[in-house]
Point group: C2
Chain length 333, copies 2
C-alpha cells in the first residue's frame, strides 16, 4: 500500500495530456490529493492547489506521486533534485514511469539514507499464482475495448463510484499504473510474466460477498495485436459476469498500428462473449461505454442513442452522462 494523502508532481509537463496520470488521481480519488507541485515551465494544471514540498508535507501529504510522463524516457536532473528533496522532508515516492525510481542512483541512495519508500508501480511485487479457473463468489464486471485507450479505466471507475453512491458493495480493481496510483494497490498486469497473467487477475479479484461487484480495469483489446494476450488473460482470469463494450468513435486505426482498422461493436461482442463464457458460462454483455470527448453534446447523445438502438444495450458516455444506466444493467444480473 502507498501512504496517502498525495502531493502530485507535475514536473515541467508541457501540457495536460502529459499529466494525465495526475489528472486521473485528482478526478477519481480527490480525497487523496493535498495539492500539486509544478516546476518552472509546467503547462499542466490538474486543478489542485499549488504547493511547495514542505507546505504539502505540513498539510499531511506523505507520498509524492510522479503523475506525469517524462520526455524520452529519462528522469531529468531537475526532476531528480525535487524528488530527492521530497524524501529529505519525509515523503515516500510513487511512480508509474517505465524508467524506474530505483534505477536512479541519487534516489536509491536518498531512500536508503532517509528510510523513504520508492514505489515503482509498474513492477509486480507479488509472486502471483497460475490461474486455476475455480469459480469465485461475488460478481465481476470487465470493460473490453474496440481499441486500447478508449476509456475502459474511466468506465470501471465511474461504475464503481455510482455503486458507492447507491450504497452498493463494489471495488475498483486496477490493472495499470494510473489505477494503482488512484487506489494505492492493484496488479501492473502488463509487467507480469506470461504464465501468471490470468493468475494475477484471479488474485486481484478474490472471493467476495454474493452481491459485491468488482470492476476490473481492462487493458488492451482483442483487436490490438500488441496486447491482445493481456486482454485475453483479463477475460479468463477475471471470469466476468458482465462485459461492457468500450469504444471511441473517432479513432481511424488501432492505436499505434496504422493499417489495422477497429472492429464494429457487434464484432467485439460476438468475439468476446464466447471467449468470456469459457471461464464463466453465465457472462452477459451488459452495456456500451462510448468515449465522446471529441464530440459535441448533441452529437454525443445522438451517437449513444444510435448505438443503443442498434445493439439493444444501454449506451452512455459514463464520464459525460454518468454511469447510472450501466449500473442499472448490472443490478439485474
Amino acid at each position: 500500500m502507498i501512504r496517502t494523502p498525495y502531493l502530485l508532481f507535475l514536473g515541467d509537463a508541457h501540457d495536460n495530456l502529459a499529466a494525465k496520470v495526475a489528472q486521473g488521481i485528482k478526478d477519481w480519488n480527490p480525497d487523496s490529493v493535498v495539492g500539486q507541485f509544478r516546476m518552472e515551465g509546467c503547462n499542466a494544471d490538474v486543478g489542485a492547489p499549488d504547493m511547495s514540498l514542505q507546505e504539502a508535507y505540513d498539510k499531511g501529504a506523505r507520498t509524492l506521486v510522479v503523475g506525469v510522463a517524462n520526455r524520452g524516457g529519462v528522469i531529468s536532473d531537475a526532476w531528480l533534485r525535487v524528488l530527492a528533496e521530497a524524501m529529505e522532508i519525509g515523503f515516500d515516492l510513487a511512480s508509474g514511469l517505465h524508467n524506474l525510481l530505483r534505477d536512479e542512483k541519487l534516489l536509491k541512495a536518498t531512500s536508503a539514507r532517509t528510510g523513504a519508500t520508492l514505489h515503482d508501480v509498474r513492477i509486480p511485487t507479488v509472486a502471483y499464482p497460475i490461474a486455476n479457473g475455480v469459480k469465485r463468489t461475488g460478481k465481476r464486471c470487465l470493460a473490453i475495448g474496440t481499441d486500447c485507450s478508449v476509456g475502459k479505466m474511466y468506465t470501471g471507475l465511474a461504475m464503481d463510484a455510482e455503486m458507492q453512491k447507491r450504497g452498493m458493495k463494489s471495488t475498483f480493481r486496477p490493472t495499470g499504473q494510473t489505477g494503482i496510483l488512484i487506489t494505492g494497490k492493484g496488479v501492473p498486469l502488463d509487467a507480469v510474466v506470461a504464465d501468471f497473467m490470468a493468475g494475477a487477475v484471479e488474485w486481484l479479484t478474490p472471493d467476495a460477498e454474493a452481491d459485491h461487484w468488482d470492476h476490473i480495469e481492462g487493458q488492451g483489446s482483442l483487436w490490438h495485436v500488441s496486447y491482445s494476450g493481456v486482454t485475453m488473460a483479463l477475460i479468463h482470469g477475471g471470469q466476468p459476469d458482465a462485459l461492457i463494450l468500450a469504444h471511441e468513435p473517432t479513432r481511424t486505426h488501432m492505436r499505434g498500428l496504422p493499417g489495422f482498422g477497429l472492429p464494429k461493436l457487434e464484432e467485439l461482442r460476438d468475439m468476446a462473449l464466447p471467449l468470456a463464457r469459457i471461464a464463466n458460462p453465465a457472462c452477459v454483455v451488459a452495456g456500451v461505454s462510448v468515449n465522446t470527448k471529441a464530440l459535441g453534446d448533441d452529437e454525443a447523445l445522438a451517437l449513444c442513442a444510435e448505438i443503443e438502438d442498434r445493439m439493444g444495450l444501454p449506451t452512455v458516455d459514463p464520464y459525460r452522462h454518468g454511469a447510472a444506466r450501466l449500473v442499472d444493467a448490472l443490478s439485474v444480473i
Copy 2:
C-alpha cells in the same frame, strides 16, 4: 546458442514420462545426441547409448542437458554433484527446469571457476520489442490446440521435418523449453513479460523468403483459462498464414482444470480463425493433427477419417501417420 552435441542427463527419473524433454531431443534432433547419462535408480531410457561423463566428452559432447523433471522443484544433492563434475570435465550445462541452475551455489561457483556456461532456457535473454503488427515476408504455420499438451510441438516438428525431407525451405521456431533444447534457440514464451509476448513472437519469426515456412511452436489453448493469453499472443504475434487444429481425443477435461470441458474442433476453428485474421486476413485452417497415442491402429485411422469427413480438412496423427498430408495442404497456400 547452446553448444552441441549433447549428453542427455536423465538423473534418477522414475519413468520415461519424467524424461520427456530428453526423449524429445532424442526423437527430433538425434544428430545432436552423443548419449545418455543415468544415475542409480533411473527407470527412464530414451534409447541413446549409456555413457559416463568423461566418455561422452571424449566423444565430442559439449553440453550436459538436464532432460528430466525433478521432484518437488528441488535439484537434489546427488544431481548437483554430477552437474558440477560435468563442468569440471569441460561441459556446459543446459536446463529447462523451473528452479534455475544459476540459483544453485555449487553450480554458480563451479561455472565461475571453470568458465562453463549455465543455460537456463526458461529465462529470456533478449529484450524483446513490443509487437508492431507489420506484415512479414515468408509463410508461417501455427498449431493451436483444444487443450494444452495435445501434440502441438510434435506437429510443428513433424511438419518441419517433412518439409526438410522434400527440400522445401522451413524452420521450426520453438516457444518452450523442450523445443529450445531441441534446436538450441528460441523464445521461452511463458516467461516473457506480458507487454512483450507478441513482440517476442514477431522477433522469433522474422522476414523470410516468400516460399519459406516457419513452424511456430504453439502454447496453451484458447480454452485453457490459465494460459490463453499466451496462445493469443502467438496467434497475433505469429500472424500465421495457416492454422493446424491439434486435438487429443481421450482427454476428459482441460489439463489441470477439472470442470472445464474441451471444445469441439469446430468451436476451436470458429473461434481461432477470426482472431487470426485480425493479424493476417489471409489465414486459413489447413488441417487437423490428432494425437492418437491412446488408440489402437484401426481406431486411430477411423477417428482421423471421421474428423476429416466432418471438418473437410486433411486429418492425421503426424507422429503415427507422418505429416505429408499436412505439408501438402500448406504447399498450395
